[in-house]
């Protein structure tokens, strides 16, 4: 098949962005089509993220910036698709780029146009709680940072054209119709929030103090309407009593959506915690049916919310809300645990709204010729979770099912993994590789510094006396050339800088303008094009940290700008060229574990043409999936597994080592050397560029309920076996299932995630075969998240009885003369009840293989979490990466999860690893730590400090060594060194010392 080496991604939220970054780093040209004017999606709107309470903007923004400036990613904003033709490998896509009325090639994002625009309109980014202008940018950190004109609101006064010193405003700029030729398409259009207006009993839209959770998210945000104060909209008071209502629009088949929106329980807990953190006066109450904290470390978060923050949970659904018209307080009516109807007054109510499919889902389905599921989301199959019904078109994020950020990121990488497999033959064909002139040798030459000072239109020049700063800069040591520019970042100035470098023989360049966070790479690129090493560059931030923040004190701002320039010159006098380290890449992959995860991962690599090894400790492949016959979603696991194993065995470049364990791991990213040991003691040494940990999990064998001695007490796995082998005894009339056995307790505080679905699956299977058998499921929370909710309902409809118990009062089993009796204190019943049963089924969950994990982790230099599962580099945004480069994880090794989710992680790991494997060589940053062996005492403090395992002790020489391939250049080691032996290139002690000194002059 002839395939095209480019990809189109629909939607620039966190999913689309992740897929774009993965694929562009794997040798493909990527187009990201975003319908709004900037990427970032909903995540950019969030305040904090659970369960780590990381600031959403802080963690997403670097990814957005990276996507914005990647040479092989083209962001097509404000655009829509008209038509898609062709097939997998070769699609033709017609699209319209709606005019921004501002020339994106010229706009510098300075924002003067927005300030001067006289038209105020509602700001959708801030959920209509703030006003924006008709000439606007979605949010201040937007990528791309381009202003645009909202033509619907614009009155055409012409002011912005007048004030734009760059001349970017083009009112007559027309829509542009273009065509793209791509090999594959990823759909990542995200979701829409459920609109609670039609649910009249809640009074949303009628009562000012009833808000949605996404509105509340903006209220919490420091950049939101109330600048981080938690206030209620009616009068700006702090809502002392704050109620959250779960499942608004979800799990509500009669009035709204039947499915569970998966994320609301957690984001509500987070919003309640953050509200309390921001404003200690706030006392949140959460009304919920179940607490669905099924993800990694989620239950711990809920426990903390309750114990540390005093968040009150009430198990009830509020039936309606009334407003006291005088105080604007809200009176909530609900049923208490005892079944009494009661009223309670709150100052403010947050509706935890669910996730709808995107508004234009039907249109998307039509254009791309894909199927939607019964709820209007993109149809996928549990065994093929990123494939749409059309070959070559993949899906990720909430468009396929409601999901949270890490799962979106996983699915995004998984979709990218599939694209990698499909388009591998065309890899590298459409990307631009840049050729640079040879570097000018500056060694031994005295510094000749050029300083370029930016007016940034009027952003700097309107406050700071730029000509004054220019004159001042000329007096500084070794400054040979100074000029000022209207916009130093504009394309023509880049040409100018290059010419000046040659003409003036400059060998150090300083730009005094905006922030290096966004602009340093641009200028570094410019000087590199002129033949200077990238690191012969310094920046002085005289806009974001000077003119913008001292607008009313121009003289002091000018003084400060001079200080900043002097400090930059001080450092520039002592900067030297740095080398980026280049490492070779072994184009082979090694996977530890031959379960469903490991096998899929293996196929992912092998089908791209990489030689692949799978190491399995058992004889048999398939891992935990061997325990399962069928999915809750009614698909046969046995058939799937058989087909998968056959496919793996037929793959020539994929080699399986079973009955084998990892004995030793040497080397680092690109150059691993793994020694494996067979059961019989024979050894094998394998080379690989990347390693994927897919070591799986094991079924917990319970000590509870006399399981080990009583054969009438079995696990769900055993029950499933009995059902499928038709061994379920006729005599059994009453079956009691007990959930959370061995999970969510003090010792193992996590949720095993799959047990609710397993219990319900088995219950339905039994009811279908033997409708007369009584089944009672004793549970703490039913966690049938997402579309699994349907089966929970199905089970209840089939007559399965669900009774809840509290953690403190688990059901008791009493055995007397062969009669088993369960005693239960259910809050639903009020009093203790007892039930006789012939079979007790324990939902026992998943445990990490502790011993082997503890052995493997140090070999790979990767961490485990408190529960014994492997710990990823970042819970939210790097869910299948380890901090140690070149090592990835997937499947149950990460945490308990379904087969569908394990498959997604497999392909995600494939994609993440492919960003390395696809390269001939990998380049590290020049700013890395280095060691002066003369000073190093070998104390090892730096070794412990390093989060990336880049520093190690050379046992022979007894000094520390930096692995330049692994060093990320943070400098923590340097700050810890007692003898100044370890220092950071580009930020050396001397350089920083000089900068400080320059300030005091």
């Amino acid at each position: 098949m002839n395939v095209v080496g480019s990809v189109l991604i629909i939607g620039g939220g966190i999913g689309g962005t992740q897929a774009a970054l993965d694929l562009s780093e794997s040798g493909f040209k990527v187009y990201v089509l975003e319908k709004t004017t900037s990427i970032g999606g909903v995540m950019a709107q969030l305040d904090k993220t659970f369960p780590t309470n990381d600031c959403a903007m802080c963690i997403v923004s670097p990814k957005l910036v990276a996507a914005g400036r990647h040479p092989n990613i083209e962001l097509i904003i404000n655009a829509e698709i008209n038509e898609v033709l062709g097939d997998a490998g070769d699609f033709k896509v017609k699209l319209t780029k709606r005019s921004l009325h501002i020339n994106p090639d010229i706009c510098t994002g300075c924002g003067v146009c927005g300030q001067k625009c006289p038209v105020e309109c509602i700001d959708l980014f801030n959920e209509k709680m703030v006003k924006n202008k008709a000439t606007f940018v979605k949010y201040p950190q937007a990528v791309p940072l381009l202003y645009s004109i909202n033509k619907d609101k614009c009155i055409g006064c012409g002011v912005c054209e007048g004030v734009c010193k760059a001349g970017a405003v083009e009112y007559d700029r027309a829509d542009e119709i273009t065509e793209l030729n791509v090999g594959s398409i990823i759909l990542a259009p995200g979701f829409d929030e459920f609109d609670p207006t039609p649910l009249s009993p809640y009074g949303y839209g009628k009562y000012q103090n009833v808000v949605t959770s996404i509105e509340f998210e903006r209220i919490l945000s420091a950049s939101g309407p109330y600048s981080g104060l938690v206030l209620r909209p009616s009068d700006g008071d702090i809502p002392e009593k704050l109620a959250f209502l779960q499942c608004v629009g979800s799990r509500d088949p009669h009035r709204a959506n039947a499915f569970c929106s998966s994320v609301c329980c957690m984001y509500t807990a987070k919003e309640a915690v953050i509200a309390k953190e921001h404003q200690h006066q706030v006392n949140p109450t959460i009304f919920t049916m179940d607490i669905r904290a099924y993800g990694k470390d989620f239950d711990k978060y809920i426990n903390r919310a309750q114990d540390e923050y005093g968040i009150r949970y009430i198990r009830s659904r509020v039936s309606h809300i009334r407003e006291d018209p005088k105080t604007k307080n809200l009176i909530l009516t609900y049923e208490t645990a005892e079944g009494k109807i009661t009223n309670e007054v709150f100052n403010m109510v947050v509706l935890a709204v669910g996730l709808n499919p995107p508004e234009d889902a039907k249109k998307i389905a039509e254009i791309f010729d894909i199927k939607l599921n019964e709820y209007g989301f993109c149809y996928t199959d549990p065994f093929h979770p990123v494939e749409t019904s059309k070959l070559g078109i993949y899906v990720c994020g909430a468009f396929s099912a409601p999901k949270d950020i890490p799962e979106t990121v996983i699915q995004a990488s998984a979709a990218a993994g599939k694209v990698n497999m499909l388009l591998a033959p065309a890899r590298g064909t459409l990307i631009t590789k840049k050729e640079y002139p040879e570097e000018i040798d500056v060694r031994g030459k005295p510094p000749r510094i050029g300083v370029f000072i930016c007016h940034c239109g009027i952003n700097i020049g309107g406050v700071v006396d730029v000509p004054g700063v220019v004159e001042y800069a000329k007096t500084l040591p070794n400054v040979e050339y100074v000029e000022r520019n209207l916009y130093t970042c504009s394309a023509d100035t880049q040409t100018g800088i290059k010419e000046r470098i040659i003409e003036q023989n400059l060998n150090r360049v300083i730009v005094a303008s905006c922030t290096p966070r966004t602009h340093e790479p641009l200028f570094q690129e410019t000087i590199r094009e002129a033949g200077l090493n990238r690191y012969l560059f310094e920046m002085a931030n005289i806009r974001d940290q000077c003119s913008w923040v001292h607008m009313h004190e121009p003289e002091k701002a000018t003084e400060k700008a001079k200080d900043l320039v002097r400090m930059a010159v001080g450092k520039a006098n002592r900067i030297y060229p740095l080398k980026r380290m280049v490492l070779n890449m072994t184009h082979k992959a090694l996977i530890i574990g031959g379960g469903i995860t490991g096998l899929n991962t293996g196929l992912g690599f092998a089908k791209q043409g990489y030689e692949t090894y799978i190491i399995e400790q058992d004889k048999k492949l398939g891992g935990y999936a061997n325990n399962i016959h069928r999915l809750l979603e009614e698909k046969s696991v046995n058939d799937y597994l058989d087909a998968l194993i056959t496919e793996v065995k037929n793959q020539d470049n994929l080699k399986i080592y079973n009955n084998s364990r990892i004995k030793q791991v040497n080397g680092y990213v690109g150059n691993f050397e793994v020694i494996i040991e067979k059961e019989d003691g024979s050894e094998n040494t394998l080379e690989s560029g990347v390693i994927v940990v897919a070591t799986g999990g094991k079924a917990y064998v319970p000590d509870e309920y006399n399981y080990k001695n009583n054969d009438k007490v079995i696990t769900q796995i055993q029950l499933e076996n009995q059902i499928f082998e038709n061994k379920l005894s006729e005599d059994i009339k009453n079956i009691v299932m007990i959930q959370c056995v061995g999970s969510r307790n003090e010792e193992y505080p996590y949720c095993s995630r799959i047990c609710c679905a397993e219990a319900i699956k088995n219950a339905i299977l039994i009811k279908e075969k033997y409708p007369e058998k009584e089944i009672i499921i004793l549970y703490r929370d039913i966690r049938t998240y997402g579309f699994k909710e349907k089966f929970y309902r199905k089970a209840r409809e089939a007559g399965v009885i669900f009774l809840r118990f509290n953690k403190e009062q688990p059901p008791e089993l009493i055995e007397n003369n062969g009669i088993m009796r369960i005693l239960l204190n259910s809050p639903q019943m009020g009093e203790q009840i007892s039930m006789d049963t012939e079979l007790v089924v324990l939902s026992t969950g998943i445990r990490p293989p502790m011993k082997s994990n503890e052995k493997l982790a140090p070999m790979l230099k990767v961490p485990l979490n408190d529960d014994g599962f492997f710990l990823e580099a970042h819970v939210k945004l790097r869910p299948v990466d380890f901090a140690t480069e070149g090592v990835f994880l997937a499947g149950l090794a990460h945490s308990p999860k379904s087969i569908e989710e394990s498959i997604m992680q497999s392909y995600a790991a494939v994609s993440r690893a492919s960003t390395l494997l696809s390269k001939e060589q990998i380049e590290s940053e020049g700013t890395i730590a280095f060691i002066n062996p003369m000073k190093c005492s070998g104390c090892g403090l730096c070794v412990e400090t390093c989060s990336y395992n880049a520093v190690s002790l050379n046992e022979e020489k007894h000094i520390a060594e930096v692995n330049t391939a692994l060093c990320k250049g943070c400098g923590a080691c340097s700050a810890n060194c007692r003898s100044s032996a370890i220092d950071l290139l580009g930020f050396t002690n001397t350089q920083l010392y000089l900068v400080i000194n320059q300030y005091q002059q």
């Binding site: 001067k116 006289p118 038209v119 614009c154 009155i155 206030l231 009068d235 700006g236 008071d237 006066q281």
Partner: protein
């Protein structure tokens, strides 16, 4: 003692002022209450002047310019009309809008000039003394007038006043004509918002107040006050001063 209103007339040099002179030459009599301030064109009338005059306790203000189409400077009188309407809309908030008027008087209309002045003077007499003079407790009115004065000075109002004619009568930058209704909807909202924002930021210069305090002293609903506070905070004009109990108090952080 009979009420002798003080009236200020802003007259353009070329038509109205000449018209007034003609009245003089023709010996046409009119009440002596008016003091004429000569401007080169009615378009020169700054809203600021009008509010200043009112703050000083002037009882009536009359702006005169050339008839439509006859302005010596082509279109100054049209600009004057736009500004006049803005001013009038603002003065409506404090029931003073009757005290200003705009009239077209040509160089040949001595009689008309006298008539206009006479009628306006009579009308002002029926209104009585300016409330600023009438009561010693006029600080509220002065405060409102100051807020108006300042809000009319802001860039947004200037743009709306300055571009209204072009956009609604000719065409905007897209070559389209914006309907007057559409424009005025925006204009009216802007006038209310800018006035209220200015009032809030002025009052917060004196002492910190809560949303509820502000709402009751400015006679606004609390929700709108909060919206204004949100805006003013985002522009770095006001900030939270303290939180008392459950209520934040705000203060102006703008330097004079």
């Amino acid at each position: 003692m009979a009420f002798k209103p003080k009236i200020v007339g802003f007259l353009c040099n070329w038509c109205s002022y000449a018209g007034a002179d003609l009245a003089g030459v023709s010996r046409i009599q009119y009440p002596p209450n008016i003091r004429i301030i000569r401007l080169m064109c009615s378009g020169r009338v700054e809203p600021f002047f009008v509010f200043e005059a009112l703050k000083q306790g002037i009882d009536g203000i009359i702006i005169m310019g050339c008839h439509p189409g006859e302005c010596h400077y082509m279109s100054g009188n049209y600009e004057a009309e736009i500004k006049f309407n803005f001013i009038k809309k603002m003065l409506n908030f404090i029931n003073l809008s009757d005290r200003i008027t705009l009239k077209w008087v040509s160089a040949s209309e001595g009689i008309r000039f006298a008539k206009v002045v006479t009628e306006f003077t009579e009308f002002i007499k029926t209104l009585g003394k300016s409330p600023i003079q009438k009561s010693k407790n006029n600080s509220d009115l002065i405060f409102s007038l100051t807020a108006m004065q300042q809000s009319m000075n802001n860039y947004r109002m200037r743009v709306l006043m300055g571009r209204k004619r072009k956009i609604t009568e000719q065409k905007n930058v897209y070559g389209e004509k914006v309907s007057i209704d559409e424009f005025e909807e925006l204009e009216n909202k802007a006038i209310i918002d800018e006035y209220n924002r200015e009032r809030i930021s002025l009052i917060l210069k004196k002492h910190p107040l809560s949303v509820k305090n502000l709402a009751s002293s400015l006679d606004l609903d609390e929700k709108s006050v909060l919206d204004y506070i949100v805006w003013l905070r985002s522009k770095g004009i006001v900030d939270v001063d303290k939180i008392q109990g459950l209520t934040p108090y705000y203060i102006s952080i703008q330097e004079d």
